[in-house]
Symmetry: C2
Subunit: 328 residues, 2 copies
């Protein structure tokens, strides 16, 4: 840890409200969706899919925003930078961050875009199929970043989902420069193997040049390095980053630190209800441990505990205070 900082972690990501409905497998098939995937959709498709899907519940989401809520729920100091429109869902998104103690630094709204939303279909087997209308959220550019907040946070946490438009890519590099310039750490979550696929070279450059702590699941890591085995991906990532945490569903996670590879078990869950937010909350627990100087196995365990909580209910953010689940 470097000099004292106001924030443990500041997240930068797509600001989305989740619209969550249960759906049978035949509905997912009839809509031509791939179960378990994340698909970007335009506003027309968002309307038609919303029209077809069942009665829903709205809850704030967004991957990095979920992670910041997790950090705050552990008792950490979290901030979040992202873009919403001046509409009902934008108000909801901002409220739900502030209500759990996350400092929100919204970028400037602009144009006619609506606040982004993610239409999530939860299957009977608890898998979620996500259909994201990014709306205003994806229009983040370097000028939207509060670099004072970034310089004043131990870790800046970047969400790979956002790394799709040139302005957002430039914003990531600006954020990384501001963080490193203040002697802070930069963390990235790969978010999605298709997103990695679309921007592999840029992701590799970012990971190699700017990222200290990398999060991703096994698929995303293999996609990043275009290798078939996780062992090869581990060998590649240790050349690029000081630290990587690779989640692998119910098999738990691997923590790669230099030559060391630690395996951390998943926490047992009585009933998996909705896997939305599992990776986001794993990152929250891990980062909370890391920014409090805890040993790596404990960072992983905090991640597992937070992930287990969030998959045991509908919705992508914790329903209990995570600090109550740990003695730490």
């Amino acid at each position: 840890m470097s000099a004292p900082a106001t924030y443990d972690v500041v997240g930068v990501g797509n600001s989305l409200v989740d619209v969550i409905a249960h759906a049978e497998d035949h509905f997912i098939e009839s809509e031509g969706l791939v179960k378990g995937s994340m698909t970007l959709i335009e506003s027309d498709r968002a309307l038609s899919l919303y029209h077809a899907m069942g009665s829903a519940v709205e809850m704030s989401g967004g991957s990095a925003a979920n992670t910041m809520c997790g950090v705050a729920s552990f008792g950490g100091k979290a901030a979040y930078i992202g873009k919403v429109a001046d509409d009902d869902l934008g108000l909801v998104f901002a409220h739900d961050l502030r209500a759990v103690g996350v400092t929100f630094r919204p970028g400037r709204p602009e144009g006619e875009m609506r606040t982004g939303r993610c239409l999530i279909l939860v299957s009977p087997d608890a898998q979620r199929t996500m259909n994201t209308y990014l709306g205003m959220s994806s229009w983040l550019h370097p000028g939207d970043l509060d670099t004072d907040v970034i310089a004043d946070a131990h870790v800046t946490y970047l969400e790979g989902y956002l790394f799709d438009r040139p302005e957002a890519k430039e914003a990531f590099r600006t954020a990384a420069r501001a963080a490193h310039g203040a002697g802070r750490m930069v963390s990235l979550t790969l978010s999605d193997s298709f997103c990695v696929d679309r921007h592999r070279d840029d992701f590799r450059g970012l990971v190699r040049d700017d990222v200290d702590v990398l999060f991703g699941n096994a698929d995303e890591l293999r996609s990043l390095y275009e290798v078939d085995s996780l062992d090869e991906a581990v060998a590649a990532v240790r050349r690029d980053c000081r630290l990587a945490a690779i989640t692998d569903g119910k098999d738990g996670s691997l923590i790669v630190s230099g030559d060391e590879v630690l395996r951390v078990a998943a926490e047992p869950v009585a009933k998996v209800v909705d896997t939305t937010g599992a990776g986001d909350l794993y990152a929250a627990g891990f980062l909370h441990g890391l920014t409090h100087g805890r040993p790596l196995p404990e960072c992983g365990r905090l991640g597992s505990i937070a992930a287990a909580e969030v998959i045991s209910h509908v919705g992508p953010r914790p329903l209990v205070e995570l600090r109550r689940l740990v003695t730490f």
Copy 2:
């Protein structure tokens, strides 16, 4: 039952989206709220209370709208008339009705009002404290009614909460005329003892002149007739209406039909989580039975079953198909 009808029930009510957060008793006290009550609030207060309350979940609500979703969930044919604005929450409200098969006939949006919302604080003991910003919902006037739908429904179900403004009162009388003119029944739920208190004479006139089937809880009935005992209220209501169903929390309900008074037990519930929607869903079950020619004890039992389902989870509408809970 009279001539065949396209709809079993058409509801007329305040169109609201519920904004639901958990809250400790001390928060409810510190905000000067009365636990278990419903308070009407203006837009400034809605903003300040929303700012103060915790992270929330948004779900469509509105008393009569919840009832219509319950009717549809039993397999009945339901329609709903109400007013929303052209904003995100209006879209959510309309979607969630149509998604469960309720025909929605929105009145015309007008002016700068937003879609109404109800800020609901759920206490650890499962009571809900409701704070309603009516917004567009309360501006229903006779011209917003689709009288063809009303004439084509066995029962028109009016929500007492709406009976606050002169235009809405006139709309109720217009609806009752359209229903009776087509040989249909008119039903009213008293909704709230404070609302009854504000408009007692008008409510009594409506009940006496226009209502065939009255719903209310014991408090509301006593307030309507300004009597201390439920027995006195029962004696009064049987002079005014053909049929009344009076809910009494965990003591179940009383059905008053002429000289007959039936007591119906509440259904057992493993854990009461959130009492929001209990009365709305009782009315759904009762009306579904009534419009299918079932005997009164069974109408009451369907009401109890629907109420038990909705209080066993957060949110004011059923999470399972109610038709699956009954052999009928």
